[in-house]
């Protein structure tokens, strides 16, 4: 396995800020892992991934992506390894047609047209958008636009895909769609980093990192993180539906298990409880 991303002693502050946003932050991510980064607004989640991709330069600290350090000289090599999907589906669409947009990253690499054509078809098939090849982006839904953005990233064959709040501007259906697609990509072996406010998305990850005021406040499996209900609320975060249900049951005098239950786990437990009575 091995580590694909290593951040060591990162210090960063925006020019107009007095306090540093990150002070000596360290984090490492295993190859093939799905890490969800959660935290309240302004906690520095987006900044962190932008520093990893070399879009922002830190004041101190070292970052390694697949063994290569992120420096101004290596930046283009790093960006071939990392694909990013951003929050606003409208603002990351470069071309006036779907296939042109998917091919944009490959044009930048100077690939041959035959290679591009093959990869565009392949990537659009992977995200189930092959019927929309010639469409114009203004006629696609938000979820479809995000799928096109993911296709654009896939054509570059990255190791890591970063989702910077990619589901936050979508309707519930589009969001589920993208989360399903993320699960599929995770199974294929991509390393995923998803920044999110959506608790369902975080629950699907292997590991959840909670960032609070530029520090890693918690870093563990979703089950363990979500069991600390009070702390989550104190950090301004939501708790998953099953935890809220457990809380309500407890209020009504029903004994509930302490560990975190997924929705399926909750259903199983409720069935068991029903058959006991």
């Amino acid at each position: 396995m091995g580590k694909i991303i290593e951040v060591k002693d990162l210090t960063f502050h925006y020019p107009d800020q007095k306090e540093p946003l990150f002070d000596q932050l360290s984090l490492s991510i295993e190859r093939g892992q799905w890490v969800a980064i959660i935290g309240h607004n302004g906690s520095g989640k987006s900044t962190l991934v932008r520093i990893i991709d070399g879009l922002l330069a830190p004041q101190a600290g070292t970052i390694f992506v697949d063994g290569i350090s992120v420096t101004p000289e290596n930046i283009w090599q790093i960006r071939e390894k990392i694909g990013m999907v951003f929050q606003n589906p409208d603002n990351q669409f470069v071309s006036a047609d779907v296939e042109g947009d998917v091919a944009f990253g490959m044009e930048n690499l100077g690939l041959d047209r035959d290679v591009m054509k093959y990869r565009v078809d392949q990537a659009l098939r992977k995200v189930n958008m092959e019927d929309f090849k010639g469409h114009d982006p203004s006629r696609l839904s938000g979820g479809q636009k995000q799928r096109v953005a993911i296709a654009g990233v896939l054509t570059l064959r990255p190791d890591v895909i970063i989702f910077d709040e990619a589901t936050s501007m979508l309707d519930p259906e589009g969001r589920q769609d993208i989360i399903k697609l993320m699960t599929k990509l995770h199974k294929k072996g991509y390393t995923l980093i998803s920044i999110t406010h959506n608790i369902d998305e975080a629950a699907m990850a292997d590991r959840v990192c909670v960032i609070d005021d530029g520090k890693i406040a918690a870093d563990s499996s979703p089950a363990e993180i979500f069991a600390q209900e009070k702390e989550l609320i104190a950090m301004g975060l939501d708790v998953p539906y099953s935890e809220r249900l457990k809380d309500e049951l407890l209020h009504n005098g029903i004994e509930v298990p302490h560990e975190y239950l997924t929705e399926k786990g909750m259903v199983d437990w409720l069935c068991k409880l029903h058959s006991k009575n």
């Binding site: 932008r50 991709d53 879009l55 283009w76 960006r79 071939e80 990392i82 694909g83 990013m84 951003f86 606003n88 409208d90 603002n91 990351q92 669409f93 470069v94 071309s95 006036a96 047609d97 296939e99 042109g100 091919a103 944009f104 990253g105 490959m106 044009e107 930048n108 690499l109 100077g110 690939l111 041959d112 047209r113 591009m116 054509k117 565009v120 114009d136 982006p137 203004s138 654009g152 990233v153 570059l156």
Partner: protein, 264 residues
């Protein structure tokens, strides 16, 4: 609002639609040049027939061409009237002060009218039969030689295609902001000219701010996908030059020859 600008392209499966955008762009400009070779009725008839054939070949309803001429009606009338009353030479039919109608004046007025209608029809034909993205690609191809004098053609082409891609987005945004301001009591349609101009402020400022935000987001997204400008980029969209394009170019060359021959 959306239909106004980009909806101008009308999809049809016709001879003109299938022509290469570069050929169509070049010929549209070329047509404006050769129309100045015309100076008698034979030459105008020749170009009239050429235009008519092009229009018929495009399978587009005549109504759309009328829509193209309509915004220019006042300019056409103004020019024709000016020619009619202020030309000298030839037989004088009517005179009053500085106004006079002469045989040459009538002739000139008719020629000017023909010239206007033909040019408008041809350029309307270009926009009606070519999708905006292809026009942008065609422009890039025609600008290629300018690279020699260090014009940043690749960057201009990317700018153009991004601008075209954002037209519908910004249109939607404008409508949304207008509706939002209307729901807070701003009235865009009534009042004096000054009042109406002032009402544009709550529309334009948010639109500017959001455009800059979009530009910033797009720039970051482009950079994250490896964009660094320059000429090492390849192109995904390709233009294919067919036999028909060569034929049409040859037809225009023949017409030019005939024009020169028929000229007085």
């Amino acid at each position: 609002m959306n239909k106004l600008l980009l909806g101008r392209y009308i999809h049809a499966d016709s001879f003109v639609h299938k022509l290469d955008a570069r050929a169509k762009l070049f010929l549209s400009f070329y047509f404006i040049v050769i129309i100045f070779l015309c100076n008698n009725w034979q030459t105008y008839t020749l170009l009239g027939i050429l235009t008519l054939v092009s229009v018929v070949c495009s399978k587009i309803k005549l109504k759309f061409f009328w829509d193209g001429i309509r915004p220019l009606v006042w300019l056409i009338i103004f020019t024709v009237v000016l020619q009619l009353f202020f030309s000298s030479g030839g037989h004088v039919y009517w005179q009053w002060g500085i106004f006079r109608i002469t045989s040459l004046g009538i002739e000139n007025a008719i020629y000017i009218f023909c010239r206007f209608v033909l040019i408008v029809c041809m350029s309307t034909l270009l926009t009606l039969t070519t999708p905006p993205l292809q026009i942008a690609d065609g422009m890039e191809a025609l600008m290629k030689p300018l690279k020699k004098v260090k014009v940043p053609v690749d960057e201009i082409a990317l700018m153009l295609s991004i601008a075209l891609r954002f037209v519908p987005t910004l249109m939607d945004e404008t409508t949304k902001i207008m509706n939002a301001q209307r729901s807070r009591g701003v009235n865009f349609e009534e009042g004096s000219l000054w009042h109406r101009a002032k009402m544009l402020v709550p529309l334009l400022i948010p639109l500017f701010v959001s455009s800059f935000n979009r530009a910033e987001d797009l720039a970051i997204a482009m950079e994250a996908r490896g964009y660094r400008g320059g000429s090492h980029r390849t192109k995904y969209r390709q233009q294919v030059w067919h036999r028909n394009d060569t034929l049409v170019m040859m037809l225009f060359a023949v017409v030019t020859g005939l024009l020169i021959y028929l000229r007085k």
